[in-house]
Symmetry: C2
Amino acid sequence: MRRHLGEGGTPDASRGRGRSRIQPDVDAAAAVVRGRLHRTPLLSSETLGAAFGGRAFLKTELFQKTGSFKARGVLTKLASLSAEEKQRGVISSSAGNHAQALAWGCAAEGIDCLLVTWRDASPLKVAATRGYGATVDQEAADHLEAFDRVRKLQRASGRTLVHPFDDPFVVAGQGTVGREIGEDLPEVDVVVAPVGGGGLVSGIATALPGKRIVAVEPEGSAALNMALKAGKPVSFAPLSIADALNAPVAGQLPLEICSRLGVESLLITDEEIEDGFRFLYERTKLAAEPGAAAGVGALLAGKIADVEGKTVGVVVSGGNVAAQMAAAILKGE
Amino acid sequence: MRRHLGEGGTPDASRGRGRSRIQPDVDAAAAVVRGRLHRTPLLSSETLGAAFGGRAFLKTELFQKTGSFKARGVLTKLASLSAEEKQRGVISSSAGNHAQALAWGCAAEGIDCLLVTWRDASPLKVAATRGYGATVDQEAADHLEAFDRVRKLQRASGRTLVHPFDDPFVVAGQGTVGREIGEDLPEVDVVVAPVGGGGLVSGIATALPGKRIVAVEPEGSAALNMALKAGKPVSFAPLSIADALNAPVAGQLPLEICSRLGVESLLITDEEIEDGFRFLYERTKLAAEPGAAAGVGALLAGKIADVEGKTVGVVVSGGNVAAQMAAAILKGE
């Protein structure tokens, strides 16, 4: 990943022009994460393959450090910071997998980390994030207010924003998921990934040019799908059981990449996600989070066209789900 | 594994003298299963290591074909049969993981398979076994009657008994779990395994001479522990949430091996097993069955002495659990 000279610091996707100039460098990201993160197993699933008449492989990112692929983007972004930037600390506004990954990565590198969330954010996730040593700010009333608060605190503190998806370093880091799939399974025809803001799927598309990439989103949380249709990110209030995918808007950079590289976009229902969740649990023995079951749910529902006879890699993106939620889905409540 | 000439057929652990003469040959078993079964990942768990102050690695046999390590022993045993024996078919009396593995292995080799169980055996497991193409006999009223029925049907049909644990080929097959741990983690100090009839742990001890091996059993299903104390297998009525470990008696051969090689035996409560189950689900993202959580439960409960600073391999032996049971444990019901 090349730093862009003359911009006076780290390229920041949130600062206008930078985002179209800096392109994600997945090879550089792979060098960053090598030896620091798990190379997660790619497990074959004959049962899933039989469901669509092809071969299925699961990229088990639920086994990644902090329980999701997010650690990849975080480490790649942190490695791009100058010593001075590291000293000023970082800021972000997630209470989910990105927050845990960022808190963990900052603890490992001795970087001060401030995470802005809102008053009724999940206590479990806030506790997990604090457990990694980050400061969590819960002054905001809701998601939108938290976003404004991040901007304000960022300006006041000089902290670097580590965006959960709209950042070339973060996209490059998530792209290492695709790179590893390509290395372990060169004959892969299709890669299926769940989508929140688009960082993961755009990274995978970048890593695997020429391969067919399918982005799966819940109907109630269709940020990328809406952005591809509108030609620009569209804000909305996401609502899906797949909380890890509930981004309120797609990233500009992920949108550009997915549009340029012809990533396919499709939607599935929460019920189909739950079917995928139960399949992963009962048949493949993976304790995935609901969002991580989106790809499997789409395959089981027959929503991905032309996969018969194909070799399909499916990203199982994380495993951070509360036991009560998992129990409810398993019981079919 | 050497066949013992002059005994008129396959060595059969249930036929007296054979069992003390034929010793499990794990290298030969490894050659049988290579390429036919998964080499299951050995995943590190920092959280579990931190719980006892050492390094922890999980041997993920829940990802094995048919959802448990049992496929290893089955394939090894089937490979030892002559063409004539294969034509006469096999018989066994399990309704659990061994039954599913045997049904699957026989289907793959075109061997007729008869599984004897009892009237109120789990419909789910019976269905899974039938799904692999085996015939399931449910004439017996209970477990003991089923055992008598196996003997009767075996004599009448000339089928070979594929015992779930008291057989040198089966023990050798299960030993490939230990062999793979030793290859992937030569510095391992301690291997912890759950125990039903003792086939797995005695196989592991055979594969890793000189290593410290710890056998973990539920208090309500302590077949090996009782046998080691009595110096011989003791029959009893097992009762534990860890249904995969509910063998009503330990095997003679496993007992001899564990006794000779100094395998440590310890007991844990069902509550400790449930704690291990939840830990595996929430922290390591593994959808294990209760019995497969026994080793982790024992480590978390501090029941395994002198593991501080040690490298410990823990066998997560299977993942065949009904969703309703899993949900109940996750909710702490």
